[in-house]
Symmetry: C2
Subunit: 219 residues, 2 copies
């Protein structure tokens, strides 16, 4: 409603409001595409779904679709990228008194809550079994790992230059290793749950606990 009001105030409206409204509209469009793409892929098979169908379902043009994603596959796995950002944000918000691994485990649990919360297990299975999607999922994971490495470096007091993209930030061995192994452990835990015969969430949290316990204790 506030966005409509802002719109009605005409082209003289202040810059921040315009940016805010545009940004919200962009986020809503991205969310609609990111929701439609895996849903339609599960329904029809990812190889049968077209970019046109995804754009139609989100009520945008083909051209608009390509403003957000470079391919159908990227749209289907977009949720992974968003959850990766959420994981990093959650880790950063943990109390400084917590150890790195404790803070990471708490962030992973929040990540997984979102991942499994809405009956997305069938979608995850579909994604796992698609050779076309796997590389895109892995690319999203790699981006999350880089961002997490930067967050861990900052938490342990490493100075990381913030005038470059996450992609180019170099972090020390410990942050890089912790980020990589934590993401790997989380992926292993989630995959076991996705592939398993039961929807039992307690079992998933149990496996996550065991993964962090082993990482903390040594392999």
């Amino acid at each position: 409603m506030s966005t409509l009001t802002a719109h009605r105030s005409g082209p003289e409206q202040t810059e921040p409001v315009t940016v805010g409204r545009r940004e919200r509209k962009k986020q809503a469009t991205r969310a609609a595409l990111s929701e439609a793409a895996p849903r339609l892929s599960l329904e029809h098979g990812v190889e049968n779904v077209t970019v046109e169908q995804i754009a139609d379902a989100a009520d945008v043009s083909l051209r608009t679709f390509f403003n957000y994603f470079s391919s159908k596959e990227e749209a289907v796995v977009a949720g992974d990228a968003v959850r990766g950002e959420m994981l990093v944000d959650e880790f950063r918000s943990r109390p400084p008194s917590e150890s790195v691994l404790t803070a990471l485990e708490a962030a992973v649990v929040v990540f997984v809550d979102d991942l499994v919360g809405s009956g997305r297990r069938e979608q995850m299975r579909m994604m796992r079994s698609s050779t076309a999607l796997l590389p895109h999922q892995l690319a999203a994971y790699a981006a999350s790992e880089r961002a997490l490495g930067v967050a861990v470096a900052e938490r342990v007091g490493e100075v990381v230059p913030d005038d470059v993209d996450d992609e180019d930030r170099r972090v020390g061995l410990y942050p890089a290793l912790v980020a990589a192994t934590t993401m790997a452990g989380m992926r292993v835990a989630v995959q076991r749950w996705t592939d398993g015969g039961t929807e039992d969430l307690e079992a998933l949290y149990g496996v996550i606990g065991e993964v962090f316990e082993r990482l903390g204790r040594g392999l």
Copy 2:
């Protein structure tokens, strides 16, 4: 020479010899394509190289190229897949008296020897910086990780059904976690060397040692 002799013995030759010769010819073709693809990509930029150029360099037809690889990108990163198989073979060949982590570290060192042995650092940098190649590299890593998980499971005495593809073999949490975190740690070590300012191999082996020490001790 023995293959030529076998050839001259005519179509009545025994089946194994024929298979052996064909298999060797296929391996040679694959190796030639896998060598030409990253070399030409480094020379001209991966986005400028065509499948035709790669096929020409390996002296095969376009059609033959597509018998081996489904895309240019797959051919450029093919070495990663081969080295992944080598890593698993090396791990399997380690004495049973060695702990899992010790055997893995020894296998990783052999893997890295091959990776860095022939001035391939520039090629690795090129691959790392290409968004088109990254997903394919990650897919090769994922395949190696699955195969390594099966090898670790067998080493620790887990019974893994061998009548299914590696892809479908389920292993316990420990083998899956060890394979995932070891591959992650190796990737971190190699990337630091690839991105670093020095060709110093001793430094790379030092980082690998530190990675395994930390994985063994706990993070």
